[in-house]
Amino acid sequence: MPRTVVSVLTVVAALIALWYAAVVPMNIKEALTSAERAGQVVTPDSAMLRRDTGAFTLITNNSFAIPATFNQARPRLPAPHQVLAELWNTTVMKNITSKRSLVYHGWITLSATLLGFAIGTGLGILLAVGIVHSRVMDMSVMPWAIVSQTIPIIALAPMIIVVLYSIGIQGIIPKAIISAYLSFFPVVVGMVKGLRSPDAMQLDLLKTYSAGQVQTFWKLRLPASIPYLFTSLKIGIAASLVGAIVGELPTGAVSGLGARLLAGSYYGQTVQIWSALFGAAILAAGLVGLIGLAERKLLKRMGFGT
């Protein structure tokens, strides 16, 4: 374990260092333009000439501008500390109910995600139970569940949002529907796999006890499917979050992480984009982590492993 921690920390530190290093060539042209406007001597001295010069030549000839690349207002690549500062400013430093708070926006997206995820998972489990117990459903529905995993369902998102909007349903429901749809099929496929995972020997044993289908379900299939369920839940929640974010794009919503991403890209607010992206990433990591935690605890109590 400690060796892994050291390796991970080294890799992360290396990535951050690479990030800082990349900031300079990415932002140098803009930094030199500002410097020129401020009256400093820049080599070469016209923006047109600079456009055709390589970033590394510009850096070597104008090393005085390097610190400025780390603090631009609209950088091509914001420095890590800039993103961190923006995150801090929009989360801790703002009132949670303020429209500028990332927590507020995060909550908007999160609520749609959770609602959709709950619906999708619930329906998915029900369908999986149906598929496992009815041969008809297995033959006719399961192939669609499998095929749907190869289709980019997310292409339906804009349409769902706009159609529901035109009949007066907006806000959390349309996004939740997309989230539900995206988590539905992974849960169905995973749960079917899990409910079918007990081997023939186990099923035969229950037959010798004259256990019916219902008893077999509750005593064997359902417990055996829990590990598979959790794997699908992790995939499902990540998909639900993406669905909620994409659902905020079509109608030009004003709140939510997707909306922040869109607004940031319209108005060229780079740091805002990055902080919204990190907010979404932290949210995703947190959600998957929570499920992972629940998984470890539950599997331990069920005796499934270390």
Binding site: V8, V136, M139, A155, L262, G264, S265
Partner: protein, 318 residues
């Protein structure tokens, strides 16, 4: 129950011979008169659905093991859904801006083939495919490096697993800013999306060759690269193809969603968002059909190649 009795009385094939024309009759009558039916249409839909469901039931109880039945059953289910969709939209005069009828969508599809084709080329061929090849290729090479270094592997895998769970589509606006509106930024999004799942799968695959197998290679005095090409790479193929298959879906999703954030006047994502804006929903559905076909065909091709390369794996032997 009724079906079972009839079945026993007439036998499966006789039953089908009775049911098939009956179903066709119901279908034709309904479709011909859907526009003027109104609410009674629901009864006709229910009748059709019941008949077809019974047929699926027959397939499931008698022909479950046959390949053709395994193809027919889901096809029949799709048929029920399409039928219900078409009749409901026509009978209840559902506005075009809410839900177009399948017949209209098909018409739109075939009349817009040139546009659909250029959208397909832009999004799939230029955006998704190039990003897929670059991303998977880069991930593969990185995995080889990671495999050689235990330290790198231990550090990179948790990071990789972490990143693979993040909403990578959110990087689209940033990449559009860096690479411009055209297909390059979409390819960049796809590269980021497929890189980590492919990396994780390849690294896992390269560890598949057991210690015993690697010891055997040592006893032959084999070099690292000999061991790599003769043992580790073939043994890794099932995992590598798992990654490649997952990546096909991710690639298409990435390319389409990236276009929601900005695109020149062509591309599937672009067409969907603009058609949605114009409420030309039949065009939206036509594009969705293209996306569905592209997605499943892409996956299918990779799966076929997988079958050829990993013919030896238990999962392929059935």
């Amino acid at each position: 129950m009724i079906r079972d009795r009839l079945e026993m009385a007439l036998g499966v094939w006789m039953l089908l011979i009775v049911m098939l024309p009956l179903t066709l009759l119901v279908a034709t009558l309904t479709l011909r008169n859907a526009d003027v039916m109104g609410r009674p249409a629901l009864i006709w839909i229910a009748l059709f659905a019941w008949l077809v469901w019974q047929m699926i039931g027959l397939l499931a109880s008698h022909f479950a093991a046959r390949k053709w039945a395994q193809f027919l059953a889901p096809a029949l289910l799709g048929l029920i859904i399409l039928f219900a969709w078409e009749v409901t939209v026509r009978a209840f005069v559902v506005p075009l801006v809410i839900l177009p009828a399948p017949s209209l969508i098909v018409v739109r599809f075939f009349s817009s083939l040139p546009i659909l084709w250029s959208d397909f080329v832009q999004t799939f061929v230029k955006g998704a495919l190039s990003g897929y090849l670059i991303g998977c290729g880069a991930a593969f090479l990185m995995a080889i490096m990671v495999d050689k270094s235990d330290f790198l592997r231990r550090g990179l895998l948790p990071v990789g697993n972490f990143v693979a769970a993040l909403p990578i589509v959110g990087t689209a606006p940033i990449l559009v800013m860096w690479f411009g509106f055209d297909w390059q930024s979409k390819a960049a999004v796809v590269v980021v999306m497929v890189f980590f799942p492919m990396l994780i799968n390849t690294v896992a695959g390269l560890r598949e060759a057991s210690v015993m197998q690697r010891d055997l290679m040592k006893t032959y005095g084999a070099s690292y690269w000999q061991g790599f090409f003769k043992l580790r790479l073939p043994a890794a193929m099932p995992f590598i193809f798992n990654g490649l298959k997952i990546s096909t879906t991710l690639a298409l999703i990435g390319a389409i969603v990236a276009e929601f954030f900005g695109s020149p006047t062509v591309g599937m994502g672009f067409r969907i968002s603009t058609s949605v804006g114009q409420l030309a929903l039949d065009m939206v559905w036509a594009e969705i059909i293209v996306a569905a076909l592209a997605g499943s065909a892409f996956y299918g091709v990779v799966a076929i190649i997988e079958k050829g390369v990993t013919f030896w794996h238990p999962s392929q032997r059935g």
